[in-house]
């Protein structure tokens, strides 16, 4: 059981850390000051959430959070590939934020009922933060998804690009049945079904066309440490100073 639980915590912690890191790359580069600030807030929330999840892992016997975040290699990370992809233009970052945070909001909503009490408590806190992330995403998708021919076509293109990776959020795990039986987590498929309903509902309020998911091939592998070429350079950058002297306090 502990192994299955750790696997769940690792993939969630790694997702938050890597997307938080990507969001923070918008600092000073946003399309307008208000968005610069918004992406920075979400980055801080996500990195903070990853710290809280790594802390749960630490209590289960894993290394301390800094060691876990700053010294593992890409093949030891369990995040989905969606979050490690470069930010690209704002349209891609926004679509990713929309697709990912909609899933996160549902995930942590469900986890508030987890039988693993420390996780249920943490999920309660994270869920509150994610409300603002989805509110932000939905507001922007509705605005840009109806505004100008350019904004609509950019979002549509990014939606099609991101969707196969977004399905990778729900990559099934061999240990899931165990977690479901113990009432710890409801499973990725249940999450994906609810996710699709929410995504469709927002897209319907815009000029965006959600592709038929039956013909989209999910990009999997992230949950088992098989990543794109983008993750290792991100980790190298993240640990650049830390590695100067891993024993030092900074």
């Amino acid at each position: 059981m502990t192994f299955a639980l750790k696997e769940l915590l690792y993939k969630m912690a790694d997702d938050q850390l890597i997307l938080g890191h990507r969001n923070s790359e918008w600092t000073g580069m946003g399309p307008l000051l208000e968005e610069d600030i918004a992406f920075s807030s979400m980055a801080q929330d996500k990195v903070g959430q990853s710290l809280a999840l790594y802390t749960l892992l630490h209590k289960l016997g894993e290394s301390d959070p800094d060691t876990m975040a700053f010294t593992r290699n890409a093949n030891q990370f369990h995040n989905c590939i969606l979050v490690e992809l470069p930010n690209q233009e704002y349209d891609f970052s926004l679509i990713r934020h929309f697709l990912f945070d909609t899933a996160e909001a549902l995930r942590f909503e469900a986890l508030t009922h987890s039988s693993y009490e420390p996780l249920a408590q943490l999920a309660q806190k994270i869920r509150g933060e994610l409300r603002y992330h989805t509110l932000h995403a939905n507001t922007w998708i509705k605005q840009l998804g109806t505004a100008t021919p350019e904004s609509i076509s950019r979002l549509q293109h990014s939606l099609e690009l991101a969707l196969p990776y977004a399905l990778g959020i729900f990559e099934p795990s061999p240990y899931e049945a165990e977690l479901m039986a113990a009432g710890i987590f409801e499973g990725e498929q249940a999450l994906q079904d609810k996710w699709l309903v929410r995504i469709e509902s927002i897209c319907r309020q815009t000029s965006l066309v959600l592709p038929d998911l039956k013909v989209v091939t999910p990009v999997l592998g992230g949950r088992t440490g098989k990543h794109s070429e983008h993750l290792q350079p991100l980790l190298d950058e993240m640990s650049e100073v830390f590695r100067i002297d891993p024993g030092a306090e900074w």
Binding site: H21, S24, E25, T27, G28, M29, G30, P31, L32, L33, E34, E35, D36, I37, S40, S41, A43, Q44, V47, G48, L51, P65, D66, A69, F70, E89, Y90, R131, Y132, L135, T139, K142, Q143, L144, T146, A147, T148, E150, S151, R154, Q205, L234, E237, M238, E240, V241, F242, I244, D245, A248, E249, W250
Partner: protein, 328 residues
């Protein structure tokens, strides 16, 4: 973060002759009594122009200042530093937002100000035209450049223009956290390994001259700004600000065991003033006029960000969606 150094060049007071003498006298009397001037109040053109110039440069300094530190967010060592640095740089961008709004009350739009920044027409604080080679450079900025900014900003917060003073009150409160964060980072470098100490000493060697330049040319050579002092636009001379900074922070730097790269730096016990090697003001002018190591890069990054975000700003002007303010 902001230094008043490059704000005030020679002021031409000719335009004052065209102002209504009665209104001008009443305006000056209000300032003399310590009242704040508000956006809809009468003010001389020269006052308006100088304030726009000052607040705009301050705002630009905040967004350009986000760049040298911002590049270290993705490299900050450990969770604690990473989260704190993200919040700190976010604050700086937030300061820009506040300040552009304050300047807009005087009649210049944010779009026009940003346009003037990226075309090089308006300036920003000189100190951000230098590179951050290592983590220690980033720590130097967070501690000491922010410290210098606070010296300037606390003085300016007592100025005469209401919206600017109110923005500065809030900015100073946030900057005081930056200062604590920066000081904390430097204490860890100072009490860490030999390598960490060396990193900060090297950063100090690189940044001392820009830091002395930060407060602007010496009073002996700087432009006369009496009218701006009388109107409480400029609240202290460059040398006064520099002296105040040295008085507060040189002892703290020494306390940590670092060497400030100026053998002539000492406090004169009789005058109570700091003495130092005269900074190279030709270098200061050269950097302000575009010749610094990072001027081109900083403006280019800003230009690219503006160009990449243009479609988003255009799309915001379209209001096909009936938008309801969320209650959350």
């Amino acid at each position: 973060m902001y230094g008043g150094g490059n704000t005030f060049e020679g002021i031409k007071t000719d335009s004052l002759a065209q102002e209504d003498p009665a209104k001008l006298a009443e305006f000056e009397a209000r300032i003399e009594r310590g009242e704040k001037i508000e956006p809809s109040d009468w003010m001389p053109q020269l006052y308006r122009r100088q304030l726009i110039r000052m607040i705009e440069q301050h705002a630009h300094s905040e967004i350009i200042g986000a760049l040298p530190e911002g590049t270290w967010i993705t490299r900050a060592p450990g969770f604690k530093r990473k989260m704190a640095l993200m919040a700190k740089v976010q604050d700086e961008v937030g300061h820009a937002q506040l300040l552009y709004s304050a300047a807009e009350t005087l009649g210049k739009s944010r779009e026009q100000m940003i346009e003037d920044l990226i075309t090089g027409k308006s300036k920003y604080s000189n100190v951000f035209n230098y590179p951050t080679f290592t983590w220690a450079d980033c720590c130097f900025i967070s501690w000491l450049v922010d410290a210098g900014a606070i010296v300037n900003q606390l003085a300016n917060a007592k100025g005469s223009y209401g919206p600017y003073c109110r923005a500065l009150d809030r900015i100073c409160a946030e900057e005081s956290f930056h200062l604590k964060y920066g000081h904390h980072c430097v204490i860890y470098l100072a009490s860490g390994s030999a390598k960490q100490r060396q990193m900060f000493q090297e950063a100090l060697n690189r940044w001392w001259a820009p830091m002395m330049h930060f407060f602007g040319p010496s009073d002996k050579i700087s432009a006369h700004t009496e009218v701006l002092m009388r109107w409480k636009v400029k609240m202290g001379t460059n040398d006064e600000m520099r002296n105040q900074f040295l008085d507060m922070y040189v002892p703290k730097i020494w306390e940590l065991g670092f060497t400030i790269p100026d053998p002539n730096l000492k406090k004169n016990p009789e005058t109570g003033k700091w003495e130092y090697t005269e900074p190279d003001w030709e270098e200061f002018k050269r950097v302000i006029n575009g010749g610094g190591p990072c001027n081109k890069e900083r403006l280019e990054v800003r230009r690219i960000a503006e160009a990449r975000g243009k479609w988003v700003r255009e799309a915001l002007k379209s209001n096909k969606t009936a938008y309801v303010t969320p209650l959350a």
